[in-house]
Symmetry: C2
Subunit: 347 residues, 2 copies
DNA sequence: CTGTTAGCGCTTTCAC
DNA sequence: GTGAAAGCGCTAACAG
């Protein structure tokens, strides 16, 4: 059998045109699917011929050549620092869902060093999930010279690009205050690295809320762990095995809260009855589990982020001018820490 | 202060040439760093002028335009199906380490639908970590028409591209047999989903090895968990709390083994003395922890994979013809399950 | 409806 | 040592 194309060379639009006996322009029209649209119409028979030829040669459009002409790459870049973090996976999932129907391909950049890469690689829009202070200037320059940016950072100034913010402090405070309605013996489950980081903010919310409620903070009610799920499970087990165990646990991340729920159940405690557990982050895992996890977090964060990024990438619809997008946090009261009335208070 | 370039348009090589008062060719020579090489020499003063102009304008080379001319994108694509899997992260890490020094940027494709994307997006080489049967034909076609592929799959035929294999069965058998040298009461810690998957292979190695050693398999020695670290921790705790607890645990993944070590230590058992624990996968986490994890796995897998991919991408050195790369598995005897002599046997 | 033609930004001979 | 010019694969005016 004679294969038309086992040469290993990549067929071009010209080869297709020759095989189909038409001009390259016609091929372009057919293959970029711009018939009937604003572009010129192409008769059905010619279109068929072209498609057959393309198929036969195994033609695939050269994205680079197309990009140079149209200025669009049909690509968005996601620069994600902590790929192992479920947060990153949520970003990817949401962007994927929004991008694919629009014909846009999300490419993930695992390296933290986005500055060098974005210098040469082009995309219709770029999401950056963390900016070190020494990268701020580069950011400004990129934006100034035509790179479309959406940046997730609490501190950086919006300056020709979009900035997404999501302030944790007040939200975390709400979580602890929710527990304070029914509890006095409230423990905190938090990674040991939470010294000065965002975890620090989350721990501080616990301290402050207890202080405001005139409750003395107890050392043995602070469950530090190593950042892993297994570590959180162990720390939660320790907390719940104390002689006067806490009746509620405030976990500074949802995954830690999930581990705490597992630990409680393993100890025979009914979560939402014997002990209340609340998390931080509003991840989908928490929402889907049983008992469902009470938590605080931004509303609809990933979807909104994805939609913004795609609006920027496609320039459609309504490309409003870039600015700061501040995400309000909400309290999601679910089964693991329900509302406590006077009758169901645990003190 | 007059900025040269706050227009928002992306500067081209021509603008740089004009500003520097030289030709575009000269700019190209200077900026693609081909002075002194085979390319024509450029005098130092001109080179300086050009660099200054480029800097002033914030010039960044257009990768697409370069790609169209040179046929190289300086990019490798990693198509990874399960981004949340530590295995994927290891791939990324290894490729990153190999690629960046060579000026190659790894781009990650989180979508499982690589067929459509690779149809249009070009890279110097592509790694694909899973091939569904219905994707095999597409794979062959891509390779035939010039896409450089490295595929990880146990079944697919190498046909114009590289295939990497890593057969788990015999390696897992070695792990269990290692434990059999010093133990009779050996438990198995494995995710519940391990019915017919690769986890199935790993569980079968346990069954078979016990059978071969004429040891009756016990239901209560099979610790099923939900796939999470916390779940593994809980299951291991249950195993080690049995009246006649096992003296050794064979965990079908390294991360489960790590959780088991944590659980054992929490119960006051000395790992490597009171109880031996072995994993599967040979991940870096296991190697680095304390006590270091005994495990089985392919040797140097990620680095070799990364090196192959980059050899394919750069065509240098020695672009040998594509074929099948079979990874032998080794037993890594470390602290968590040391060699047992007759004197230290636990039966 | 279809073909001709002029580039997009860049690299790369080949003259000077 | 430097510049003129051709052309990579493709799209988009504009003719016909």
């Amino acid at each position: 059998m004679a294969k038309a194309s086992s040469t290993g060379v990549r067929p071009t639009i010209r080869m297709v045109a020759e095989l189909a006996g038409v001009s390259t322009a016609t091929v372009s029209y057919v293959l970029s699917g711009r018939r009937g649209d604003g572009g010129p119409g192409v008769s059905d028979p010619t279109a068929e011929k072209v498609k057959a030829a393309a198929e036969r040669l195994g033609y695939r459009p050269n994205q680079a050549a197309r990009a140079i002409r149209t200025g669009r790459t049909n690509t968005v870049i996601l620069s994600l620092t902590m790929l192992s973090d479920p947060w990153s996976l949520s970003v990817i999932e949401a962007v994927q869902k929004a991008a694919v129907p629009q014909g846009v391909t999300p490419m993930i950049l695992g390296d933290a060093d986005w500055v060098k890469v974005l210098g040469t690689h082009n995309a219709d829009a770029v999401f950056v999930d963390a900016v070190r202070p020494d990268q701020r200037e580069a950011l400004r320059k990129l934006a100034e010279h035509g790179t479309t940016l959406v940046v997730f950072d609490e501190e950086v100034q919006a300056d020709g690009f979009d900035v997404i913010r999501s302030i944790a402090g007040p939200g975390c405070r709400m979580a602890v205050e929710h527990l304070l309605h029914g509890h006095r013996r409230i423990a905190c489950l938090t990674p040991a690295t939470a010294a000065g980081t965002s975890g620090g903010t989350r721990y501080r919310a616990y301290s402050d809320a207890l202080a405001a409620a005139k409750i003395q903070e107890r050392d043995d009610y602070v469950g530090l762990f190593d950042g892993t799920s297994a570590g959180a499970y162990a720390a939660a087990t320790r907390l719940l095995s104390l002689p006067d165990r806490p009746t509620a646990i405030y976990a500074t991340t949802d995954y830690a809260a999930v581990s705490a729920i597992n630990a409680a159940q393993r100890l025979g405690l009914a979560v939402g009855t014997d002990v209340d557990i609340i998390g931080v982050g509003n991840t989908v895992e928490g929402e889907r589990m049983s008992p469902s996890l009470s938590t605080v977090g931004p509303v609809d964060f990933f979807d909104k982020l994805a939609r913004l990024l795609l609006r920027r990438a496609t320039g459609h619809p309504a490309p409003e001018s870039p600015g700061v997008l501040d995400f309000p946090w909400h309290l999601f009261v679910r089964e693991s820490a329900p509302h406590r009335s006077a009758a169901t208070k645990l003190y």
